[in-house]
């Protein structure tokens, strides 16, 4: 079975797998010259002008993608033109290029028995080409061996891609198709002992750690924070939920332990004098850094220790095929190198794929000109599956100052493209330089930057500033930039100015400012910097995120070329074949094949599941398949199971099983993690997997609450309305209500009462009372005209009593203690002078009346005008009192 795929290389795997037979004799001999001597002058040959010319497409592509490259012309041609076979540089100065191409497509013929039968160039599997191995072994390399090998491999891949429109990869059975090795599986219940007495989830983890320190949030309550693994009322449910946060195979990687120190997540201070009481199984001596002042680290140690003891007692068992219907296991090292497709790199002048995974150099593997390698400075970390992460202050990847390759090559064409696969850390960083060709201090030749949700493109030309401003940006409203892996390209040419493409789509164009300008004001001494400004630490322009590929081209890539590179993808990928032939009802040589890659430092990406039979005579099959899970090491992946609902019948060889891909958490790493598939049904076999049951969630008691509360805004308004019998729509009441509405209580909680509530209620009450007295709305229903028009010093009971009656009701104990009037409208305690004075509502109102009347005969008179003021005051005080505001 062959699959038409193009590849990018994986040198390590290829080395492991390859059998080699031929030694390519080196000019100068030996495996030395690692410093390289190649001097590149740029391409000067044209394949179309050769004599004889390439006679077919294959040779023509060979010429364009391999033979004409600077390294070939300036290094390899020194020997392999006509001195030392194979003569794959024939045609340079003399000879026939058609013979040169054929010379590479032969097996190596002598010498190196380890590579017997290996093709010098294997277009079907470029990474297995002998010439690549030769470079890896430091054969006259012009840079580091790894870089040379990558460069030559890239030539071959492009040659293969161009010639065949796609390369075929031959699938082969994995060498190690064994049952899953298994590991530790969770005990049946939270109270199942796991070794020593008392070593249960409940006693090691739940009681001493989760309940005291996590149940404040991670339990069902009025404001729960999932996951709910610390429910004091429900051990069984907590255990089920906690399982996905515990790694039995690597306790230190358990989410429960990792969360606190990595996210400073609600760490607690360990009570050191009582540590043996609080955590009786914990031995601080096992954790050298313990009690050094970092609470989070101490917490993590305690949690890791508890999980370790929990896991220690659990036996390591193979995954039981009687319980689980499982495929054979496989792993990344057993995978077949895959790739996404061929990149367009014809005018690529710098390429960083970040493959090395260690050290402080990001190599330029473009093979164009003098390599523009970058030094990693500050907190720059390697990312699994190829990439670097720019993580903090002072981080950058920076080229040396003496290399002016970018300047000279871009000046030649007057065009460029910056291409990158990036995963910004966030969407909050501004003026953050992702790719920066800079002189420091803001001066730059070009840059690709991030501002919030936008990508920005800066270029210095005769129309723009020396800092490349004003930038062209992606549209604000589209929020194109996301904190996820994206392919971004900014192009520049004099006709179009700058353009920005994201994930293959044109997102910014119409760069009128830069159009028509030239790059004549560029500076050839600037350096290429990834993630920052050049020179001194300048975190104002620090960009934080992951770079998985950066490429510079000295042409403005077309939409089609950008789309091609986007489709090619990024990072190393593998085909993993899960053997299912041993399952009844499944033909021999049957596999479920996934394309798998390391997604980032913490997960694997599984995509494109297919049924594959390596027996090419099998075309049609009839294999029911249902409920597929991905297993990793000892257990099904806790999160990310995307094929649980699969329920179909496989009918053809090569059939895709799902368009869905998924990520599962990385555990030990790509060299050690073992994968397998688990099915509910496959072929004629099936298994039933019991689902855990979850008892009803219970909630804990809350603090006792007040039995009374506040009336809220509408309730206060309508209460006033109802008490006085005045419509809410009367006079100026709606305006006043709208004015104070949001000042009135919005919550019934009596603890939320503030003075402003009372002031707002008073303002509103005042307006109701104004309508009652001044406009005489509803007043005839409450008191007589005589009362309204009496002198201010007359008996106030004529208006106090009716108003209190409306507000207070009768026959209840939960009402105001209104008191009684003495003859003449006085009350005994209306002028309190001592602390023991007894108050009643009426005494307070009379006191209020007397105080207000103190203006007589100064600023007011003893007449009806003053009386109405008194009534309004009494009315307002009564309405806006607790009697109306509390319910």
């Amino acid at each position: 079975m062959f699959y038409k795929k193009l590849t990018i290389a994986n040198m390590k795997t290829a080395l492991l797998c390859m059998a080699m037979a031929l030694t390519l004799t080196a000019c100068g001999g030996g495996e030395s010259n690692s410093n390289g001597t190649g001097t590149v002058t740029g391409g000067v040959f044209g394949c179309g002008s050769l004599e004889p010319a390439p006679g077919n497409t294959l040779t023509n592509d060979f010429c364009n993608e391999f033979w004409i490259k600077d390294n070939m012309q300036n290094v390899c041609a020194n020997c392999h033109k006509e001195t030392n076979p194979p003569f794959f540089m024939a045609g340079k100065d003399s000879g026939d290029i058609n013979l040169a191409a054929q010379a590479l497509l032969q097996p190596a013929s002598s010498g190196d028995v380890d590579f017997a039968g290996q093709l010098i160039v294997d277009l079907a599997n470029p990474s297995q080409s002998y010439i690549v191995k030769k470079m890896q072994n430091n054969h006259n390399c012009w840079a580091s061996p790894t870089v040379c090998a990558d460069i030559v491999l890239g030539y071959i891949e492009n040659w293969a891609g161009d010639s065949a429109g796609g390369r075929t990869i031959q699938l082969t059975a994995p060498l190690n198709a064994n049952p899953p090795g298994g590991g530790k599986q969770f005990p049946a219940t939270a109270t199942t002992p796991t070794g020593q007495p008392g070593y249960t989830f409940e006693e090691l983890i739940y009681n001493p750690i989760l309940i005291p320190y996590c149940s404040g949030c991670h339990k069902p309550n009025s404001n729960p924070q999932g996951p709910l693994f610390a429910d004091p009322a429900n051990l069984a449910s907590s255990y089920e939920v906690a399982k996905s946060r515990i790694d039995l195979d690597d306790p230190g990687s358990s989410r429960l332990a990792v969360k606190l120190p990595t996210e400073n997540h609600n760490c607690w201070e360990v009570d050191m004098p009582n540590i043996s009481v609080d955590f009786p199984t914990f031995n601080p001596a096992n954790y050298p850094g313990f009690a050094s002042g970092d609470d989070c680290a101490d917490n993590a140690a305690i949690i890791e220790d508890a999980i370790t003891k929990f896991a220690e007692g659990i036996p390591t068992n193979a995954v039981d095929p009687n319980v689980f219907l499982i495929s054979r296991a496989t792993s990344i090292p057993d995978g077949i190198v895959a790739s996404g497709g061929s990149r367009y790199e014809a005018q690529q002048i710098a390429l960083y794929e970040f493959k090395t995974g260690q050290g402080t150099v990001a190599y330029d593997t473009s093979g164009a000109g003098q390599a523009l390698d970058l030094q990693l400075q500050g907190p720059v970390n390697w990312v699994g599956g190829w990439g670097i992460s720019i993580d903090g202050s002072g981080a950058m990847a920076r080229s040396g100052a003496s290399n002016s390759k970018l300047y000279s090559m871009i000046q030649t064409t007057g065009q460029y493209s910056i291409e990158a696969w990036v995963a910004p850390n966030n969407v909050t960083q501004e003026m953050a330089r992702i790719v920066n060709y800079t002189g420091g201090g803001g001066n730059k030749n070009f840059a690709l930057s991030q501002t919030l949700y936008n990508y920005d493109s800066q270029v210095r030309n005769t129309n723009t500033g020396l800092d490349g401003e004003a930038a062209l940006s992606t549209p604000d409203a589209e929020e194109v930039l996301q904190a996820t892996l994206q392919h971004v390209v900014t192009t520049y040419d004099t006709v179009n100015g700058r353009q920005i493409y994201v994930n293959g789509e044109l997102k910014a164009s119409g760069d009128i400012l830069a159009q028509g300008g030239s790059l004549s004001n560029w500076n050839d001494s600037y350096t290429l910097v990834l993630g920052n400004e050049s020179g001194a630490v300048n975190d104002n322009n620090l960009w934080k995120g992951v770079l998985k590929l950066v490429s510079i081209h000295n042409s403005a890539l077309s939409q089609a070329q950008i789309q091609q590179n986007y489709n090619a993808g990024v990072g190393e990928k593998f085909f993993l074949l899960f053997d299912i032939s041993h399952i009844a009802g499944v033909p021999t040589q049957s596999y479920i094949m996934f394309t798998v890659s390391q997604f980032d430092n913490y997960s694997y990406l599984f995509t494109d599941p297919k049924y594959v039979s390596l027996n090419s005579s099998i075309v049609n099959v009839n294999i029911p398949i249902k409920g597929m899970r991905i297993g990793i090491n000892s257990n099904p992946a806790a999160a990310g199971q995307a094929y649980l609902n699969m329920d179909m019948t496989i009918s053809t060889n090569g059939q895709s099983l799902s368009p869905i891909g998924t990520t599962v958490a990385l555990q030990g790493g790509p060299d050690t993690d073992e994968f397998y598939l688990i099915f509910e049904a496959l072929g004629t076999e099936s298994r039933t997997y019991a689902q855990p049951t979850y008892p009803p969630r219970t909630v804990s008691n809350l603090p006792a609450a007040s039995d009374i509360g506040l009336k809220t805004f509408d309730e206060i308004n309508t209460t006033f309305s109802a008490m006085l019998g005045i419509s809410t729509q009367t006079g100026n009441i709606p305006a006043v209500y709208n004015l104070v509405k949001q000042q009135l209580p919005s919550s019934e909680d009596v603890k939320t009462f503030v003075t402003a509530h009372n002031i707002g209620a008073t303002q509103l009450a005042m307006e109701y009372c104004n309508q009652l007295v001044t406009q005489e709305v509803a007043s005839p229903n409450i008191f007589s005209s005589a009362v309204l028009n009496q002198n201010a010093t007359a008996d106030p009971s004529g208006y106090i009593d009716p108003i209190l009656a409306l507000a207070n009701g009768s026959g209840m104990d939960t009402q105001m203690d209104v008191g009684t009037f003495a003859t003449g409208g006085t009350v005994p305690d209306a002028n309190p002078t001592g602390p023991d004075t007894t108050f009643t509502t009426k005494s307070e109102l009379v006191y209020l009346v007397n105080k207000l009347n103190s203006c007589i005969p100064g600023t007011c008179s003893d007449d009806a005008t003053q009386t109405r003021e008194l009534i309004k005051a009494v009315c307002t005080a009564t309405l806006s009192s607790a009697n109306s505001i509390i319910q």
Binding site: G226, G545, Y694, R697, D813, T841, S881, N883
Partner: protein, 442 residues
């Protein structure tokens, strides 16, 4: 009034706060509390007398249902008296309105103006319509002739109201609220599919989720996940944080969800997936809805409208909609192997796992775990035990002024939930809560 007088009045108001004391409770005290809590206003003397009579002699409520009452101080007495308060117009225009208003906006503000979401719920309560219809039915209440009969010219405007219902603004309800219309007397039942209301297909109507206000709050911009989140929050009483479960199938998580936010897939695998696995399976139900408005001329979306269209072409062009990518196709390249919405199907993965405790299909109707469109998803949600429990909890809080705090309160919630599920009548829950939360004996 002069300045000095104002100050004196204010001071006096403080003094009056706190004069209430309890010594020997009477049924009148309890009736007053019941009325305060249900109608929001003090009962006058006539009302207290009516409640006393209802207590001992029974009461026929305005829906014609008899509440027999009982001995003074008994639960039956208080329940019958509570219906006197329930029949007060302020129960609808104050208590219910302010209980419902926070459900109709993301900020959960009680000050949200009256709108068709709020009015529809009020109408459903008034007419004793099965409360589950708030998430399922082709139902709408406008301010009109007060009829519960959808054939009774419901959109005829009452005297004094000038703004008719409009699918493109809230003027109709705003005016009714500003002028304090009696909602009990004027709310009229109609349908969302009517040309004079929202004019959406019958099959597109799903209770308050597809009202104009519901759309304005939760179908506006974004990805319509807000409708799911806030429906859960408002009608099952827990935010998504409560429902996080990373173990559910991940095959319906859409492409716009980054699997490695900022380059760290732990965030996705430990957090994002917990909500999206379940949520994204269900938000397919809302795939054909959008709240369209002109973001340039009307940035506050005051004049937008609910739009229902069964395709995934770009949003409508100006004046409504901006011609941008369909909201279910935004950021599709964040994870190209994620789920790509192709129709309005939904699937409920939370029927299993920790969220099985939501109590799905609580009435054992044999409801499917999948469906198409918002109404069937609404039925899935409305027929949970948590839906019923949530409604009575909200009533409990409205009447008792607290969330359930202890075992006795939780038992009362369970009892009220069971009773509520017998007919999904929210008034009954109010009367039961009022009975439970009478003034404690000193």
């Amino acid at each position: 009034m002069r300045y000095k007088s104002i100050i004196r009045v204010l001071l006096f108001s403080y003094i009056l706060l706190g004069v209430t004391s309890v010594n020997a409770l009477t049924d009148r005290d309890q009736f007053k509390r019941i009325h305060d809590r249900i109608a929001g206003i003090h009962p006058d003397e006539a009302t207290l007398v009516a409640m006393e009579n209802a207590c001992t002699s029974g009461y026929d409520d305005d829906n014609g249902i008899n509440h027999p009452g009982g001995a003074a101080g008994s639960a039956a007495c208080y329940e019958a008296a509570a219906y006197v308060a329930i029949d007060n117009p302020r129960f609808y225009s104050v208590t219910l309105k302010n209980m419902i208003a926070p459900w109709t906006n993301e900020a959960q503000s009680k000050f949200e103006p009256l709108n068709d979401y709020t009015a529809t719920v009020i109408g459903i309560v008034r007419d004793n319509v099965d409360f589950r219809s708030i998430l399922t039915d082709n139902i709408l209440y406008t301010v009109g002739n007060g009829s519960s009969n959808i054939n009774a010219n419901p959109t005829a405007l009452p005297s004094g109201l000038s703004a008719a219902y409009s699918p493109s603004n809230n003027n109709h309800y705003q005016e009714a609220e500003d002028e304090d219309f009696d909602l009990k007397a004027t709310l009229s039942r109609t349908v969302q599919s009517s040309p004079s209301t929202l004019n959406i297909p019958v099959a597109a109507a799903a209770g308050v989720m597809t009202t104009r206000a519901g759309a304005k709050a939760f179908f506006i911009d974004g990805t319509n996940r807000a409708m799911f989140r806030f429906t859960m929050l408002n009608h099952l009483c827990n935010d998504l944080e409560f429902y996080k479960d990373v173990t559910r199938p991940a095959d319906r998580i859409k492409r716009d969800v980054s699997r490695s936010p900022g380059g760290d897939s732990r965030i996705y695998l430990n957090n994002c997936i917990g909500c999206h696995a379940g949520m994204d399976g269900m938000i397919g139900a809302f795939a054909y809805y959008n709240y369209e408005y002109d973001p340039n001329a009307d940035p506050n979306a005051v004049n937008g409208r609910l739009v229902y269209k069964q395709d995934f072409t770009n949003e409508s062009s100006a004046p409504l909609g901006d011609g941008s990518t369909h909201k279910y196709k935004i950021n599709m390249q964040n994870f190209e192997w994620g789920y790509d919405t192709v129709d309005d199907s939904w699937v409920n993965y939370w029927r299993e796992g920790p969220n099985e405790t939501i109590g799905w299909d609580t009435n054992s109707q044999g409801l499917p775990t999948t469906g198409n469109g918002a109404a069937s998803l609404g039925a899935e949600l409305a027929n949970t035990n948590d839906f019923a429990s949530c409604q009575v909890k909200k009533v409990f809080k409205t009447v008792c002024l607290r969330s359930p705090v202890d075992a006795a309160d939780r038992t009362q919630i369970d009892t009220m939930t069971t009773n509520f599920k017998s007919g999904y009548n929210l008034k009954q829950a109010f009367s039961e809560a009022a009975t439970y939360c009478v003034i404690p004996t000193p």
